[in-house]
């Protein structure tokens, strides 16, 4: 029980992150991948990658604002699952949709700007996934953190990818874009400091308030 108490958050994260994949597999066996299965798989894996990427980006600001240290530990898990779905997304496009046909792929990837930035986002995520281990963290030292700031670039590329691929109504990708920009803004030094100061001030006030109430309770 103690183990579960300590581990419930990461366990929940694993389950949640695997749900979209489980749903795809379930739909596959129940003939529910729509009339255009390859496109459906492409969309679903892409959307899952985006959501997980946004969640991974949300960990640090959540800790800044609410002091949720446990959440920071989920960053790596969420990031790696985002990469898993990005890989499935990329392989579906290249392998299932275009059957590795070099001629068609040349047109599909390099002549379509949305595909090009999507491809760039995938290439940006690739070294981050590879260097996500403790060994690579040690080996890269200070540079590890620098390298992993590429996630911000990847997130922006993914948003552009989404904006450019929708037919006309860009409200949904823009909503994701707004969330990503907010999560990036919360990392700016001035904003972060202001938030920490605010949090500490509120904490002090709460403590003082508790102390006062406690005193008044005295006879």
């Amino acid at each position: 029980m103690a183990w579960l108490k300590r581990r419930w958050l990461p366990i929940l994260t694993h389950i949640g992150a695997l749900l979209p994949l489980a749903r795809l597999i379930w739909n596959f066996f129940h003939d529910q991948l729509t009339a255009n299965p390859i496109q459906y798989i492409t969309f679903q894996t892409g959307k899952s990658a985006l959501v997980l990427l946004v969640l991974a980006l949300a960990c640090t600001p959540l800790n800044t604002i609410f002091e949720l240290k446990r959440v920071v530990g989920l960053r790596k898990t969420l990031g790696l699952y985002a990469f898993l779905y990005a890989t499935l997304h990329f392989l579906t496009f290249v392998g299932l949709d275009y059957q590795f046909d070099p001629e068609l792929l040349k047109e599909a990837i390099f002549k379509k700007r949305y595909a090009l930035v999507g491809f760039a986002a995938f290439l940006t995520l690739l070294p981050l996934a590879i260097t996500s281990t403790k060994g690579w963290m040690r080996r890269l030292g200070k540079n590890w953190k620098r390298l992993h700031r590429l996630i911000y670039l990847a997130a922006l590329l993914v948003i552009i990818h989404f904006v450019w691929l929708v037919k006309s109504d860009i409200r949904e990708p823009l909503a994701y874009g707004a969330v990503v920009l907010l999560l990036l803004a919360l990392r700016l030094k001035t904003i972060r400091r202001a938030l920490v100061t605010l949090r500490e001030r509120l904490a002090t006030r709460r403590r003082n308030y508790n102390r006062v109430t406690f005193r008044e309770d005295l006879p």
Binding site: A35, N36, Q99, K112
Partner: protein
């Protein structure tokens, strides 16, 4: 409604199917897909005489037409994978959202530069213009395609009936606007109603039809009931659904998609593998139900019938 059991309808009897009066057929007699397909096989073996009633006159060599018939997209896919933004922008949501759609009474108002403007009741249209079957490829601008057995009649027949005047150069079609029935129209992102257009000579081409049915039955709501345009050499969005108004006009109509994204959707929108789209490959397509991509053909494979309409035009510019 098309999932009725194939009981009691034998393929032999079904040959007497009367396309001109589809509306009156009680649902118990609606042809299920399996029966429709077996009827086609029956016709194939019963000989040319029985089959010829269903074939459009002199357009295709019987061979290629029968070839295309073998590639028919399953009815289930045709009925559940729909681009019909009036109901939803999600293709899978159109079928459930459109089920209560009222298609009777329905009339189509034809006016503008015509000698005999008029309002045509859908039942009258079915009676007045002999319904015939047309098996066409449908190529969506989103890089997927289907093969659909439509029931309908040449648009030219309706045009001849209203007698266009010399001022008439283009056709402007309009879909019903009724956001109570079509919840997608509540979105102000698009400028409803849906509008599409054709040049008069395109509309007079025998390939251009007004369809009222598919797979031998009246059109399901999600496919544009009760009457829609089908122009098989153009991207699917040109084939406007649930038409209530057709005007003959002097200048090029501005379609909904031309307004939404003029750099992506041109007035002509002829299927053209040589004209790139910023998102979808127009060089290849996925036929629904197939795994490998197909090469997209100029004019969706109908170049022989329609290419002369665009002689001397730069179709890269006039895309």
């Amino acid at each position: 409604m098309l999932s009725a059991q194939p009981t009691g309808v034998r393929s032999g009897a079904a040959v007497q199917f009367n396309g001109g009066d589809m509306k009156k057929i009680p649902s118990s007699e609606i042809t299920p897909e399996s029966v429709y397909l077996s009827r086609r096989r029956f016709i194939g073996t019963a000989g040319v005489l029985a089959g010829s009633a269903f074939l459009p006159s002199g357009l295709w060599a019987a061979d290629s037409y029968e070839e295309l018939r073998k590639e028919l997209t399953p009815l289930k896919a045709i009925m559940n994978y729909n681009n019909f933004y009036e109901f939803s922008t999600k293709k899978e949501d159109v079928a459930p959202l459109s089920q209560g759609f009222r298609t009777s009474p329905w009339s189509v108002k034809v006016g503008g530069h015509v000698g005999k403007p008029g309002t045509f009741d859908i039942d009258d249209i079915r009676k007045r213009f002999p319904q015939e079957e047309r098996v066409y490829r449908l190529r969506c601008v989103e890089s997927w395609s289907m093969v659909i057995p439509w029931m309908g009649f040449p648009l030219a027949a309706l045009l001849k009936a209203v007698e266009p005047t010399p001022k008439a150069k283009y056709l402007r079609f309009e879909t019903l606007q009724d956001s109570k029935q079509m919840p997608g129209q509540k979105s102000s992102w698009y400028s409803w109603p849906y509008v599409e257009g054709l040049r008069l000579d395109e509309a007079m081409n025998d390939l251009a039809i007004l369809a009222t049915g598919l797979y031998g039955n009246p059109l399901p709501p999600q496919n544009g009931a009760p009457i829609r345009l089908v122009v098989p050499w153009k991207y699917g969005f040109k084939s406007i659904k649930s038409i209530v108004k057709i005007d003959l006009v002097g200048s090029k109509p501005n379609s909904l998609w031309m307004q939404a994204a003029p750099n992506e959707y041109g007035f002509y929108a002829n299927v053209n593998p040589a004209v790139d789209h910023p998102r979808w490959s127009q060089a290849s397509e996925r036929r629904i139900g197939e795994f490998f991509r197909r090469k997209t053909l100029p004019f969706n494979g109908y170049a022989e019938q329609v290419a002369q309409l665009y002689a001397g035009m730069d179709l890269r510019r006039d895309f």
